[in-house]
């Protein structure tokens, strides 16, 4: 199998919490043992609640934060231990788009300077070619070349986000971390930016790590999804696997909480709201971090942290319900296991290379409310 563009193994970032000199050192595990890979031209969506570590993950991946543990590979090159100078060519290839289109542009620079600066930093092209390319980039993101002499404050939020995207594209990156790039924008502008990002991907083959809390937009743009809870990926797999058939109890909770923009569906599926809130990530107790809110707790959940168990359909689920032992037990008792039904998943072998639009077979799926470990054939009333 070909080398993925980017790969992280067991990536962690802990922040030390100062709590007086006598107190025991406390750690905030913002990112805790995350493994993922991203192929060329692919979008990996990261969803999860506020404070679960999405931004920290993005920054650790880009080596803006030095990881506490774990390895990061770009192509087949390991980034750990590189000096800042050795990092420079990789920094050029890996860029970031920020949430706040107001704060991320220097108000004293013209749009032209803002877009040109990264090319100058990386010593790309001659000055004349740089200016030419700046104009090309501005028209690529839907701005007019004569906007080059204007200042950020003269633009709307959506236009500023376009400027930010043009700047990011200036160094011809292979990989862009988009940290909530549309959250601060109006609904009608969000769609403009998402379409722009998709067109750029189709044209340049750039890969995205797309962080957002809008689950339906993430579904729209992503090929693969990582669901994050308290610093770790609790479920990781193809977009239609996860949205069509979520396995981890937290993924199910998250997806069922998202309001559906369809009044009839909303009326038909009105469910009691979930209970509880995420616990503090500081000094988390041992055991599964979702334990306090989980409706399917097992005896082992409080003592040990579940591993990322690989499922037959290729996705990884960090929950004891999906450990090899528990799945075997369910099989022994004749309890059907959704993850055991590869026939329903035509793209089980390569969940990530398959673009969602390529899926056209209507896949029959069991009702969502039924836990995946309920008896076969829907024997319950």
């Amino acid at each position: 199998m070909a080398e993925p563009l980017f790969r992280a193994e067991g990536l962690s970032k802990y922040f030390e919490m100062q709590k007086g000199s006598f107190a025991r050192k406390k750690y905030l595990k913002a990112v805790d043992g995350v493994s993922l890979e991203i192929d060329r031209g692919e979008t990996l969506g990261i969803v999860g609640e506020s404070g679960c570590g999405k931004t920290t993950l993005g920054r650790t991946i880009l080596q803006i934060y030095r990881p506490t543990a774990g390895k990061v590979f770009f192509g087949n090159m390991e980034l750990e231990g590189l000096s800042e100078r050795q990092m420079l060519p990789f920094r050029r290839k890996m860029q970031m788009i920020f949430q706040d289109p107001y704060a991320s542009l220097n108000p004293r620079f013209t749009i032209g300077d803002i877009v040109e600066e990264p090319m100058a930093i990386h010593g790309m092209y001659t000055p004349a070619r740089r200016r030419e390319r700046t104009q090309e980039l501005l028209s690529l993101v839907g701005l007019k070349p004569d906007h080059i002499r204007r200042y950020p404050h003269e633009f709307s939020g959506g236009q500023r986000q376009r400027v930010g995207i043009a700047r990011t594209l200036a160094t011809e990156p292979d990989f862009i971390v988009c940290d909530e790039p549309i959250s601060a924008l109006d609904v009608s502008i969000q769609a403009q930016i998402v379409n722009l990002l998709e067109n750029i991907q189709a044209e340049t083959g750039v890969a995205y790590l797309f962080i957002a809390h809008d689950l339906s937009m993430v579904r729209h743009i992503s090929h693969r999804i990582g669901v994050m809870y308290l610093g770790s990926l609790v479920e990781y797999g193809g977009v239609e696997q996860i949205y069509g058939d979520p396995l981890h109890p937290y993924t199910r909770l998250l997806l069922s909480s998202e309001p559906v923009p369809d009044p009839r569906l909303a009326r038909a599926h009105r469910a009691p709201p979930p209970e509880g809130e995420p616990p503090s990530p500081i000094d988390a107790p041992p055991g599964c971090p979702f334990c306090s809110r989980c409706a399917f707790v097992l005896p082992e959940c409080a003592a040990d942290r579940p591993k990322a168990y690989a499922q037959p359909d290729g996705r990884k689920v960090r929950c004891f319900q999906y450990s090899a032992r528990r799945r075997q037990q369910r099989r022994a008792f004749g309890v059907r296991d959704i993850a055991d039904a590869p026939a329903q998943r035509p793209h089980a072998q390569h969940p990530h290379v398959q673009h969602p639009s390529a899926q056209n077979s209507p896949v029959p799926c069991p009702p969502a409310q039924r836990p995946p470990w309920s008896p076969a054939g829907g024997g319950r009333a």
Binding site: S156, V187, H220, Y243, G244, P259, V260, S357, A368
Partner: protein, 365 residues
């Protein structure tokens, strides 16, 4: 008689650059027990409309016209000429604010005092409102906090707002609103700052307000998912005007105004979450997004005609000349667009053409 009736309300701000007309000729009503959604882009006048209703406009704001009737009483902020009239109005509103009309904001800290305990903030209102003893007020506060889902409420009474999470603070605000048993609650983006799982909890509480207590709720949001799952009726605002009004079903399944159509085209309408819909409708080809081009207008330099014109794909010559009028499709469904305006010669011709589904006259029962 509706609980709240607003007729031809206009709000302006005097600024150094000129007059900003933030709310323009807005009319609507709200019934008891109804959840009314207000949708629109930022700057479309949703919040200013609500602040006008509450009499909380900043000092540079004025209300040149409009009539507001609440629970049978005239509370119009327009036409207050003498000092005495203004004082009477302010007295009237002070009695209504927080008592008969409750408020829930995006940031609960705009309403909570950071240096007072939750006990103080909860009981003060109860004592003033129902003139009961402090002990009785505390008992009621505890029971209300339990009702809005705060675990072990008694022990949390002596805590300060900063010790609560965003979701918990929003619950306190709702408990305070509940303690006054208001007839109308204005919720301005109450869940925008919250996570989806917590949002679902808060929305359920707000729905309970309407269902159990018959409170009318004006819910301001830009999240069409929230609108679909919460609202009975929806007002779509653009550049200070209501451009379309209808039941949730009318807005989502029979949208008429090009802006409403654009909003619906800008979202991924496949269900984002669980539920059969995401499976039945969801597994096919992914839906293309058709965004609205351009950006919202500058309220300072609005030209004649329809404010949506620069972004509208269906614009006609008449749209630049005059503002479109209101056309009715049903008793609850109205919109403001030349496509449907009966004065539009095209529509007049079509009045006898039964095959035109967009004709407002035929849509009437």
């Amino acid at each position: 008689m509706s609980l709240l009736e607003i007729e031809h309300l206009t709000t302006e701000f005097a600024t150094r650059q000129g007059v900003v007309r933030a709310v323009r000729d807005v009319s609507y009503s709200a019934e008891a027990g109804e959840i009314l959604g207000l949708v629109g882009e930022s700057g479309s006048g949703k919040s200013v409309g609500m602040l006008t209703l509450m009499g909380l406009l900043e000092s540079n704001g004025r209300v040149p016209s409009g009539r507001i009737t609440f629970d049978g009483r005239d509370i119009s902020p327009s036409g207050l000429r003498t000092k005495r009239q203004r004082r009477d109005y302010e007295m009237k509103m002070r009695a209504i604010r927080g008592n008969e009309i409750g408020m829930i904001f995006q940031d609960p800290m705009t309403y909570l005092n950071p240096i007072l305990t939750i006990r103080r903030q909860m009981t003060e209102g109860i004592v003033a409102h129902s003139r009961c003893s402090a002990d009785e007020a505390e008992r009621r506060a505890v029971s209300l906090m339990g009702k809005v889902g705060i675990p072990s409420p008694r022990s949390r009474l002596s805590q300060y707002p900063f010790e609560f999470s965003g979701g918990m603070r929003q619950r306190i605000i709702i408990a305070i609103a509940l303690s006054m048993s208001p007839k109308l609650v204005i919720a301005d983006e109450p869940t925008t700052a919250l996570d989806v799982t917590v949002q679902a909890q808060i929305l359920e509480l707000i729905r309970g307000l309407a269902l159990e207590y018959g409170t009318a709720v004006a819910l301001i949001t830009h999240d069409l998912g929230v609108v679909a799952s919460m609202c009975d009726r929806v007002l779509i605002m653009y550049a200070g005007m209501i451009v379309e009004e209808g039941t949730a079903d009318e807005i989502f399944y029979e949208p008429r105004h090009p802006y409403t159509l654009g909003l619906l085209g800008s979202i991924n309408r496949r269900a984002g979450g669980l539920g059969e819909g995401s499976r039945i409708g969801g597994l096919g080809a992914r839906q293309a997004l058709t965004p609205i081009p351009g950006s919202p207008p500058d309220l300072l330099n609005l030209s004649a005609g329809c404010a949506f014109l620069p972004r509208c794909r269906s614009a006609m010559r008449v749209c630049a000349v005059a503002e479109p009028g209101v056309s009715e499709f049903s008793a609850s469904h109205r919109c403001r667009c030349w496509l449907h305006d009966p004065r539009n010669p095209g529509n007049m011709n079509n009045a006898s053409n039964a095959s035109n589904p967009g004709n407002p006259k035929q849509a009437k029962p």
